[in-house]
């Protein structure tokens, strides 16, 4: 069974290794360039000491301007990949057997079909886990200087580093296996599995992920000029948190009405720098920031990976059970 699984899937395994090799070949030199610039701009000492000085802010901004673009491209190129790769490998597992009629050959040897499927799932699933973990390691290494500045919660970091890439791919693989079993055709199964993958994956990223743990709220001095987004530059030492929301609040911590907010922003635009800060302080306002602290990265990674691997395991269990019960 092990030899047979290898013989059937060795082309895919080879393609996976080529993908890893290509990724490494492209990103290792780039990673070195990033590290050189990181040292050259003196980003490390800034992050260690305190980042609100003018010199440090401009150094980090220059560094991010130089490399944030490429790291965002990385996300654009690679974020659909786990879904596609997983769906294609998974859908072909049973879809091809049905399409070519070879299920009647495969399951009339002396290996019961449920064991046949279970062994294949375990072997291919393990290979997927090892390969995606290797890809994540390459991405993590490549991005780590950028992550020091913008934090590992940025989508380009969180979705590709750690465990989440492996979780997504296994989830798409499981969807593909089940779709191939039910639809008995590879291409429709790939399309269905990928659609279902996105239907779960996107709400998790944009809605569910920030709710894994209760976020922390903090009242800051209103004059702090906090920027958000992937190219955000931290204003305090340490890794950047994941800022979910920031708003002006009054002394009691209540949000201020929108009409007042408009007045204030008109006023502050007329003033600048320290005068604006002094004006906001005089009103007794605070900046309320809601965020997930940077040190929750691994907790969130484990929650997200368990979620996707858990659903994947359930789907694969359904597939094995369904094949066992199947009367067609």
């Amino acid at each position: 069974m092990i030899w047979f699984t290898w013989r059937q899937h060795r082309a895919q395994a080879l393609a996976g290794l080529v993908l890893i090799a290509l990724t490494a070949a492209v990103f290792l030199p780039y990673g070195h360039a990033i590290r050189d610039a990181y040292a050259q701009h003196g980003v490390g000492p800034c992050l260690g000491r305190g980042t609100d000085g003018q010199r440090c802010q401009s150094a980090m901004r220059a560094f991010m301007d130089q490399f944030n673009g490429i790291s965002n491209h990385l996300l654009t190129w690679f974020s659909p990949l786990p879904g596609l790769i997983g769906a294609i490998i998974g859908a072909g597992l049973l879809g091809r057997e049905y399409e070519q009629g070879t299920w009647r050959l495969a399951w009339t040897q002396a290996v019961p079909r449920t064991r046949w499927l279970t062994v294949k799932i375990l072997l291919i699933g393990s290979a997927i886990a090892v390969m995606t973990a290797s890809l994540s390691a390459v991405f993590g290494w490549f991005r780590s200087p950028i992550d020091h500045v913008s934090g590992k919660f940025a989508p380009g970091a969180f979705d590709l580093e750690g465990l989440s890439l492996t979780g997504y791919t296994l989830f798409a693989f499981a969807l593909g296996v089940l779709a191939g079993l039910l639809l008995r055709r590879t291409v429709p199964a790939v399309v269905t599995a990928f659609g279902a993958f996105l239907a779960v994956r996107l709400p998790v990223e944009y809605w569910l992920r920030q709710r894994y743990q209760t976020p922390v709220s903090e009242l800051l001095d209103p004059s702090v000029n906090l920027t958000t987004g992937p190219s955000a530059v931290p204003i305090s030492p340490g890794s950047a948190p994941w800022v979910l929301n920031q708003s002006m609040v009054d002394k009691a911590g209540h949000p201020i009405p929108p009409t007042l907010q408009d007045q204030i922003s008109q006023h502050t635009q007329a003033l600048h720098g320290q005068a604006a800060g002094a004006y906001l302080n005089r009103l007794g306002l605070h900046l309320k920031v809601v965020y997930q602290p940077a040190n929750r990265f691994w907790t969130f990674q484990i929650i997200e990976a368990s979620l996707f691997v858990g659903i994947a395991a359930a789907l694969l269990g359904i597939a094995v059970w369904h094949l066992h019960r199947r009367s067609t």
Binding site: W3, R7, Q100, T102, R104, L105, Q109, A110, R326, S327
Partner: protein, 288 residues
Amino acid sequence: MSAALETRGLGLRYGKAWALRDCSLALPAGSVIALVGPNGAGKTTLLHLVTGLLRPTEGTVEIFGEDARAGSSQALARVGFVAQEHPLYRSLSVADLLRMGRSLNLRWDQPLAERRLHEIGIPLNKRAGELSGGQQAQVALALALAKRAPLLVLDEPLANLDPIARRDFMRTVMAAVAEDEITVLLSSHVVADLEAVCDWLVLLNRGTLQLAGAIEDVLAGHRILTGPRTDADQHVPGLVRATHSDRHTDLLLRTATERSDLHPSWQSHPVGLEELILAYLEQPAVTR
């Protein structure tokens, strides 16, 4: 004679429609059994139930006295199967297919498979997809025979094969029957393919069993009566089919004896296998 294959009340339902229903059979070991019926009669369903590819909705399947429904390794090892259109992994070489058989089976006779393929001139290093239809059928058969299973099941093995390939295929099957004393169950809708090689007949139509028995006994148990045209004979016991021409009526009867009691002036003569099968398959409601 012990039963190679025994089914009791076997049935399979898809939704509300029964693909096969109430099928009880006992096929003797060592025979070559023809499973005959029109397309859609339930032949493939019955064969897939026997090989464990399908699970019955009701009833039992026993192969050499052991339950085949479990789908266990032991149950699978007792049946060699060549599915319709003899599917193979087309991108695998013949040698890889043999290796697949070796790694997926409890018993595996590699020398036997290699010898058979060598005898008919199929190179082991060729991909299955590059072989002719007849050669692919032979490779599929070699895989099934190398399992050394006591029961060999062939689903429409001769469809899509040219006459030479048909002859070669059946030659291999009959050689295996002679050498290894296996039992063979093969389905076909072409009667002429079967007459020379089969000694047992199972007739299916619309998911129900119509006839099962040794061909010799079946033929001996039917007679055709020919006489002047009449419409009054519909209630003759054992009537399978009545055909009327302008002046004559032919009655196919299930009877072992001369039925001079019916009509003294009628002529009685034996029936051929093909005619018998066609009569059963044409008849919309057949008395069992």
